[in-house]
Point group: D2
Chain length 150, copies 4
């Protein structure tokens, strides 16, 4: 499991002092970027030179409790699924490293850069993701994350 | 159905020229803020004086096609469900007013300001939301949006 | 003078209910994008096809009074200066169309896309900007906006 | 001198692959938040309980060279000036820890929470800031940062 940490900053928080919900996805993506770099696939390299892009086709979040300005948050990231042309990343956000305050799930497809047509997950990427593939508990229902994926 | 429009700006777009996925939620919330103000419940009034807050407990998006820097986007917002202590808002994002490029769904709970305990949707708010309640097509499966709601 | 309007949204405001200062620049850039499109130079076209980029070399803002969540803001934009390889844009932000709550100034250089070397402001762009060139009052001191420009 | 580090993320970068200028201020504020916490004045505590707020009255940035997606950036923060009711913070942003790619300066006033009237910098805050007060080189011209400060 890959871990990442951040602190809820002033610009993350709304007038109620709570993390604005959309910013959770920004932090989830920061964790994903750090994970991909650690896995040998830094996104900026992929974007610059690659013939493929990896746009998201689905994103979801559950907010279980408030994350407030100043809270330290631990993100636990796992690869939940590797499909033929897409993969799914899940994050759990622990407030002060303890209770889970939020969860995100993002589905990333691999597409050809200009046509935006799905192509198979490149083999080196698959091999880099596989060690981080952790079964969810309970197992996700068939197709739950595949709705929007080709 | 409530409509809202925006144009994908430079700061919305990533190095591939595509709307960064988390910013779709920012635009969905802008549409929701405009809708709530039109419905007589401007959020800034609620936040300042109210004894309740309306935090999101769930958010999800499907990205069906790229939204690019400069694209004009039409948002069609509907109230998908009004529960006892929460309500669900759905948005469809049409590129240049035509094909649907993305969808979002957000679930908002009503909570007491300090305890964060769910309380019933206030009657005036329920009455303001009801005219915008439109059945989804196909009907959403039971509980699909209620996972995280109390 | 070019005008643009927006409303301070929930995600613009910090826990004190005030516009987070950096977001003023986002709104200034939205006004600038709308202005450039109206002037015949939509940024997304320039970025896609052009051999030049127009990065900012300087940005500054003065905050004269709080802009709060829900405030309607009128932006008045003028071109303050057109130099050989750069131009300066000024915005005034009026709260509810009345008193000035903030000012921004941004200096944009024209550079060759790959080398990032300054090149002269293209003649068609100069002609598009000139009608909006308004002397500031009082006149800006010589070089005040040119510190960082080549 | 206080140091802070970050990496330019996907959502920081525009379609040209360059840090969107307004996001530099977000990173400057992150450095400032970290600095204030290290100095014993975490902003979230001040905002929650304090009778004062510390809004910015001025912000400026010079962009000397592009910061690109994936770049590692070192921020060097110093307190440039402590006035009666305000203080000035300067940041230098070094790309990969080497050449300076950008500079920011922000002027923070201390105001009474409800009236927004300037009040003297509280003595404990002054004492916390003073060890970080470093003369700029060359010395800043008189009043250069005080334009907007009371």
């Amino acid at each position: 499991m890959y871990t990442h940490a951040f602190q809820v900053s002033l610009h993350d928080a709304d007038p109620a002092g709570i993390l604005f919900f959309a910013h959770l996805f920004r932090h989830a993506h920061d964790a994903y970027e750090a994970f991909m770099a650690a896995a040998g696939f830094p996104l900026h390299t992929a974007l610059e030179g690659g013939r493929v892009l990896m746009p998201l086709v689905h994103a979801e979040a559950d907010y279980l409790g408030p994350l407030r300005h100043g809270d330290r948050v631990l993100v636990e990231l796992r690869v939940e699924r590797i499909g033929r042309t897409s993969f799914t990343v899940g994050c759990e956000f622990r407030r002060h490293g303890k209770q889970i305050a939020a969860r995100t799930r993002t589905v990333h497809t691999v597409v050809e850069r200009t046509s935006f047509r799905p192509v198979p997950v490149p083999e080196p990427l698959r091999q880099a993701l596989e060690p981080h593939l952790l079964p969810t508990d309970p197992p996700e229902p068939d197709g739950a994350t595949g709705l929007a994926t080709p």
